[in-house]
Amino acid sequence: MDLYEYQGKELFARHGIPVPRGIIAENPESARAATEILGGTSVVKVQVQIGGRGKGGGVVLADSPDEAEAAAERMLSEGFGGRKVTRVLVEERLAIAREFYAAILLDRSTGTDLAMVAAEGGIDIEELARTRPEAIRRLHIDPEIGMHPYHLRALTGALPPESRDLVENVLAGLYDVLTKEDATLVEVNPLVLLEDGRVFALDAKVTIDDNALFRQPEIEMLKTVFPIDPVEFRAREAGLQYVKLDGEVGIIGNGAGLVMSTLDVVQQAGAGAANFLDVGGGASADAIATSLEVILSDPNVRSVLVNIFGGITRCDLVAEGLLEALQRVTPNVQIVVRLDGTNAEEGRRILEAAGHPRIVPAATMLEAAQKAADLARGEVAYRGHPG
């Protein structure tokens, strides 16, 4: 879960990292008022969970309350990068002398924390790592021993001497956020040295481990302000693993890997998947009915592909679940069903016997993907079982 910049900065401040004075505004008038409070000038920053704000007009230096109001008006009405924007962060303007980069992330390949500091900021760190890797100081920190002063000294070794103590303080704070708030990434880009010698986190990128939310109730609460697609919301409420995509074939499968593979195969068949949906191990009638409801509420969906491999899950029960679901949901598109694995024969027989006009059987995953793709493109009208 990616936090908004202002949420990340609140965490930073709580862990002793200096951040600019800032006020959240949910309408243009508040942005004006905030700028007045901050002394007549401000920086207006769009709050979205994606990067590239600087280049895309998501950060505006306002020289007056009028300008701040206009910038907020534009951001809130136009959105950013195709996303809805519900709030902007209005911050004090600071006199910047130097920009740095600092981050700590959980490096999955080693299972240790990787801290990185660069003496330049506001840059694309992936690009810098490719072109001038020597410009980044990198250090792995074993989670069993934690971050120590020698780590901090090594990381800040290439920074201007007068800034080192303050940056070390920031790094210690970042490590605190990482470990105490169950973050997997904390990044400050840029971290700035001001003309008056102070060091501030000008930006904040924080990713929290979803698996740890059960013990981070305060962070879980931060989610409530995220804008969310209504279909995604419904899926989440039902406990389904759902990701909205932009194709036309609605997908239901069991198991994350199989579903990912299904999306790929549908694309190879010439259509796009409308979603990722993992119905989970049991694939009960309830779960299937809810999944169907969720998928069919997406207006882009022109066909549905149900791809089940029965391991522990029994295909006969899946077939019964599907039929029961179809008594609750009335789809206006065809549903291609492929059952394989445990009790697949029986499952297919149950579907055939029911003769539902919306169910189009398929023997293999590839055949199913092809049929669903053809249906979505409106090229072929596969009829369901003769009803």
Binding site: N211, G257, L258, M260, G341, L366
Partner: protein, 289 residues
């Protein structure tokens, strides 16, 4: 031979009195696995259809000679079960539990360095050496004994591929479900190395997906050390950047962890990569000696 589990495997199941624990312990037992003990704190002295239950893994090991741990306990207690198994020096620890905080797993990974226990998982379906031993939730019925090794980050996708292999008469030496979490135990690298030395394995299938660099590191190993043919599959070519696709570890971040990069790295190392699960079986058929 086979790898990780075989006829000498003696399993102690942590969380055996839970619904999942009971169900799968009995399935593993019915498969022919030596499931010798279960652990549920406070339930020592009971049994689950004849499998004795103990308070601690240490007690279970002392009484039954268990050498492998299988863990079904909920996420907030699962890492404790892993530590407990490692402290009892069990040779293999298979953790099925999904949803363990990744920082907890990082500490486990750190603790296990230099210990004698090998961890598989978490968030994994387990390990099966068909005809010998099944430790986890992989349905034994879809497997058949043979000489193809398989290692995968996914559950049902593995079942799909194993099923297709079995239908074509291609048996498996061992199937390793390494799991879908970002920080985990045995990976592609370790599995490939074990298969490389296993006299009962002729070819290895590796099933990867988006996120991390396990596949890329495996490709390096394959190019340098692997003496047996490897067939690959990568799921998630169409996955969007920054979206988690079901598994905690299945996410493309920035430009790293894409399916394309993984497939290219593997192909550069001489691995044949199938575009569909069905093509994997065809490639295996063509590559088998």
């Amino acid at each position: 031979m086979a790898i990780l589990v075989d006829r000498t495997t003696k399993v102690v199941v942590s969380g055996i009195t839970g619904r999942e624990g009971t169900f799968h312990a009995l399935r593993n037992l019915a498969y022919g696995t030596q499931v010798v003990a279960g652990v549920t704190p406070g339930k020592a002295g009971r049994d689950v259809e004849g499998i004795p239950v103990f308070d601690t893994i240490a007690d279970a090991v002392e009484a039954t000679g268990a050498n492998t741990s299988l863990i079904f306990v909920p996420p907030r207690f699962a890492t404790e079960a892993i530590y407990e198994a490692a402290d009892s020096e069990l040779r293999l620890v298979v953790c099925i539990t999904e949803g363990i905080p990744v920082r907890d797993m990082a500490r486990v990974a750190s603790y296990l360095r230099g210990k004698s226990s090998t961890l598989v998982g978490p968030n994994c379906p387990g390990v099966i050496s068909p005809g010998k031993s099944n430790v986890g939730i992989i349905p034994g019925e879809i497997c058949t004994p043979g000489r193809v090794g398989l290692v995968s980050r996914s559950g049902t996708l593995t079942y799909q591929i194993v099923h297709e292999l079995t239908q074509q008469g291609i048996g498996q030496s061992t199937c390793v479900g390494m799991g879908g979490d970002p920080v985990h135990g045995v990976g592609f690298l370790e599995s490939l190395a074990l298969f490389n030395w296993d006299p009962e394995t002729d070819l290895v299938v590796m099933v990867g997906e988006i996120g991390g660099d396990d596949e890329e590191r495996a490709a390096e190993y394959i190019a340098q050390e692997m003496t047996k043919p490897v067939v690959g599959y990568i799921a998630g070519f169409t996955a969007p950047v920054g979206k988690r696709m079901g598994h905690a570890g299945a996410i493309v971040t920035g430009s790293s962890g894409t399916a394309q990069a993984k497939a290219e790295a593997l192909e550069a190392a001489g691995v044949k990569v199938g575009r569909t699960p069905t093509e994997v079986t065809e490639l295996v058929q063509a590559a088998l000696p």
